[in-house]
Amino acid sequence: MPLIKIRDLHFYRGDRAIFDGVNIDIQRGKITAIMGPSGTGKTTLLRLIGGQLRPDSGTIEVDGQDVHKLSHAGLYELRKRMGMLFQSGALLTDISVFDNVAFPLREHTDLPESMIRDLVLMKLQAVGLRNARDLMPAELSGGMARRVALARAVTLDPMMVMYDEPFTGQDPISMGTIVNLIHRLNDAMGLTSIIVSHDVMETTEIADVIYLLSAGKVIESGSPVQLKRSSSQWVQQFIQGLPDGPVPFHFPGVDFADDLLSSEVSA
């Protein structure tokens, strides 16, 4: 039975359909990637799974519980078992790295400080930043901030972690470190990971299953190998990063020649 079951999901922003009948299964213990061009609602999907947004119709079940039928308290209980890594890291800027990682433990447990210290140091050790514990978030590089946020996301030993664009804006070394960490943590902690990304290389390296989204629908799904062999032109354009194809390079509108010949002058 999948950990997350999304059925016939519809979600609109104004008149625009972000999701128009999406079905996704996220299997336990696997790394599942949700991919697609910018603006296809990948981050929105994570917010729907986390219960921060409500779908217009359809259901999202996490560990057998319909997220959007839970009470406020029930949703918060479920979130304790979910970790989320935000694109920005979302670290609390007025407290140190150590306190950021300790934050969920202090909020949700009555553990003594000595035990919290040990647990935090273990998590920071896992992301290689044990000796950066006294730094403030403003003193961290983008890659370090994301690793601290990752340590914080797994502090409560969740059943799943959602990664929102974990590779964006990283230098090659940080990128490699984060790819490696996601893979290692997933295996070592028995997590279920959901990665939302448009970085094809890094994601196909670690994902077990990939869902490709476009125009509110799942265009294709399968293992990275299956997607690479797909006959769909759209999939090939996305995977190979071709500038033109089913997704046009030019924003749709007036023909170029007609535009040059027209007498209209913008103010």
Binding site: G50, Q52, Y76, E77, R79, K80, M82, M84, F86, Q87, S88, A90, L91, L92, T93, F103, P104, E107, H108, R152
Partner: protein, 260 residues
């Protein structure tokens, strides 16, 4: 004409929606107060940033306002040979009106704008969303402690403002203008009533504390998560707080001291 009516209607609906959201926000904050009082360390941290860091501006402003009152009061009273009543004039002006009102205006400018900017930036950097995803309610954890700290700080700052202001009036009256110090203090003590004057001033400052902190926190929480949005929200905090303080001051004065 139709466009005008349409835009008026939209403005009316937006205003009503914001009023509704603001009051719901207040309700959530108030609901969280008992829990926050049990974790008072959160409030103490905020008392430092909201209250203690406002003390300097309150001290300096209070001193100068008191000195100006002393100077203006003396120049008027001396024409009637009543300069011994300077202490009464300074103390009643400060305790009843200027203490709570000017202090609240300064509080809105210093602490209120800082609160809006802080919460707005926390929102734009996804810190509040991140907290929600960690199953921590940001209203209980971040907003309510600041609300309680604002309510506690405001009357204390107003008391400091009034005390320093009276001292400023005394420096000018006794030190520069030669008013009898015994008359200054004794008349002040006799004519300033604990309940009618001091307590009413305290009630005013508590009300202003609630309103200014509420406006500041709501504007931050409701700000568009962009630098421009946070900037606008900060401006709105100062402007709306000033209107609210001055409008409420009239209502409270009419209720407390009558005359209408």
């Amino acid at each position: 004409m139709i466009d005008f009516i349409r835009s008026l209607g939209r403005w009316g609906l937006d205003t009503l929606q914001r009023l509704g959201s603001g009051h719901l926000f207040l309700w959530y904050m108030v609901k969280g107060i008992p829990e926050v009082l049990l974790r008072f360390s959160l409030v103490i941290q905020q008392l430092q940033s909201v209250g203690v860091r406002s003390v300097m501006i309150i001290l300096v402003s209070g001193l100068f306002v008191g000195m100006v009152l002393g100077l203006q009061g003396y120049n008027t009273l001396v024409d009637f040979g009543a300069e011994e009543s300077l202490g009464v004039l300074v103390s009643l002006s400060l305790v009843r009106e200027l203490g709570p009102v000017v202090c609240a205006l300064l509080f809105a400018g210093r602490a209120g704008s800082a609160l809006t900017a802080e919460i707005g930036l926390m929102k734009s950097t996804e810190q509040l969303t991140g907290m929600e995803m960690m199953a921590v309610d940001p209203i209980r954890r971040i907003i309510t402690p600041r609300f309680v700290a604002g309510i506690i700080s405001m009357p204390l700052l107003a008391a400091i403002f009034s005390a320093v202001g009276i001292f400023g009036g005394f420096i000018v009256g006794y030190g520069l203008l030669g008013v009898d110090d015994g008359a200054f203090w004794s008349q002040m003590q006799v004519k300033t009533d604990w309940y009618d004057d001091v307590l009413n001033g305290v009630i005013k400052s508590v009300v202003f504390g609630v309103v200014v902190t509420w406006i500041a926190l709501f504007e931050g929480y409701d700000a568009s998560p962009t630098s421009e949005g946070v900037g606008r929200a900060t401006t709105r905090t100062v402007v709306h707080s000033a209107f609210a303080i001055l409008g409420l001051d009239f209502v409270l004065t009419a209720l407390m001291f009558g005359g209408i």
